[in-house]
């Protein structure tokens, strides 16, 4: 494995490309003894659009939460954008990593615009924002993002009044508001039907390309993976069991990898 840490700290010695995410022998358990992750190894390059697949309970969400700095882990090594991570991310890194949880984590009682503005909190940690006052420049940025995501006319609508697809886009806008380099999205389109999910992913894909972002998605649908992801990783029983360019993962292969698991589950 490369040692990107020193590389990032001093620009002149930048010789090896730093991976966006480097995970080495990562172990995790919510309860002692029952491991959810059992030695995950993973390297995702900068600018990649990667999908993580796997049966329920394989540890996909747990992996995402660890990468987002929300879970301290007992064993292994995680480097995010070249910085070592152990539990909570330090503020500078925090800003560079956008995380969209499965149920989006939007505040339903706030408007779309207010939710997007929350993405700027890492830049404004004073009391002013705690009282609800954001700098005008941030408000303009948030509006611009809503415009890009085709939500400008819904800006003042409370989130609980928005449709599923609109909420998804608000969550994306909030993450983009952070100005991240890396976006982690945990099955965030799983509540949408296929065409809508594809629509949302197309948005994310285009934006990621335009801005040179690295995106890691947990996805269930092979069609979506084949259409949007460049690379796919399959997690099973807490281990990486498959990794390839997304187009190489065909239906028969996918069924074969997932298959015995489903049969086991049915028993």
């Amino acid at each position: 494995m490369t040692q990107p840490l020193t590389v990032l700290q001093s620009e002149e010695t930048l010789t090896v490309p730093t991976p966006a995410v480097a995970v080495e022998d990562l172990w995790f358990a919510y309860r002692e003894g029952s491991w959810i992750l059992r030695g995950v190894d993973l390297q995702i390059p900068m600018g990649g659009f990667w999908a993580i697949m796997g049966p329920s309970g394989a540890g996909k969400t747990t992996l995402m939460r660890i990468l987002a700095g929300l879970l301290p882990f007992p064993r292994g090594r995680v480097l995010l954008l070249g910085h070592p991570v152990r539990g909570e991310l330090e503020p500078a890194l925090r800003r560079s990593v956008g995380y969209i949880p499965q149920q989006l984590g939007l505040v339903r009682g706030l408007t779309a615009l207010e939710n997007v503005l929350l993405g700027s909190l890492a830049r404004h940690r004073g009391w002013q924002t705690a009282l609800g006052f954001f700098p005008r420049a941030e408000i303009e940025r948030a509006m611009a993002l809503l415009e890009v995501l085709d939500l400008a006319d819904r800006a003042d609508e409370k989130v609980f009044r928005l449709s599923g697809g609109e909420r998804q886009r608000v969550a994306i806008a909030r993450t983009l508001m952070q100005d991240p380099q890396l976006i982690l999205a945990d099955e965030f389109v799983s509540d949408l039907d296929l065409p809508r999910a594809a629509h949302v992913l197309a948005f994310v894909y285009r934006l990621a390309r335009e801005r040179g972002l690295t995106v890691i998605l947990n996805l269930h649908e092979l069609q979506l993976v084949q259409e949007f992801a460049e690379h796919v990783v399959i997690l099973k029983d807490g281990r990486v069991v498959f990794e390839s360019p997304a187009l190489d993962l065909t239906w028969p292969l996918f069924r074969e990898i997932m298959g015995d698991y489903e049969r086991e589950a049915l028993k």
Partner: protein
Amino acid sequence: MSAKRVAVRGTWQTLERRRWRELGFSLGLMALLAWLLNGMGFFEAGRLIQGAFNLARFAHEMFPPDVRILPTITGALLETIQMAFAGTILGFLLSFPLGVLGSRTLFPAGVVAVVRFLVAAIRTVPSLLWAVLMVIVVGLGPLAGTLALAFYTVGYLAKLYAELFEAIDPEILEAMRGVGAKRRHLIRFVLWPESANAILSQLLFMLEYNVRASTVLGLVGAGGIGFYMQAYLGTMAYSRLTTVLLAVLLLVIGMDALSAWVRRRYLLHP
């Protein structure tokens, strides 16, 4: 017998066992109630019949209501409303921060335990006793009543709010921590808007309760209409007492209507 049939039979037996348990529980509860009532003399027919006669006599003396006292009691009635509103708002202002401090969502177990103990201690004291205490502290009058209602409000609202905050979807908090939000941001942007509906709803409930409670605080000299209640009761001026009670009834109905209107108008969250 096939495995499937055994399984169905097992389910059926579980179901039936559950029904018997429920039935047994209901019977047990009724037996308990009968035993308690018996202990209080509920099943002594003579006493109940005598009680009915007393009630009839009392009712006869109560009617017709003496409306000449209306100008006299109007001021006291307004004071009652004033006490209820001021006490509720004051109590609310204290309850929100205590609710935040008392929820494990944002604060460590030690802080939570201390706050919860404090709130439980406040809740233990009934509103009338708070009124007596406040009369001792600040003297007779509506200020004592207002403070008494404020304390009583804190005892309940702080607990309810703490529970509300603990029920907030952890994913929202997680997402907010993910964007680098601090505790003060979580309070302003998650706890408040996510619970606003329930906060308002419980606040209205407390206001309705306090309007009722404030009518009796005057019994101990803590201001409001209760003073007249006690005076008319003490001098056996029952027809005047009726007027007071009817006025209070109207006030309570009005308050409930106002609260229902606020709910319809502002509680939009699904």
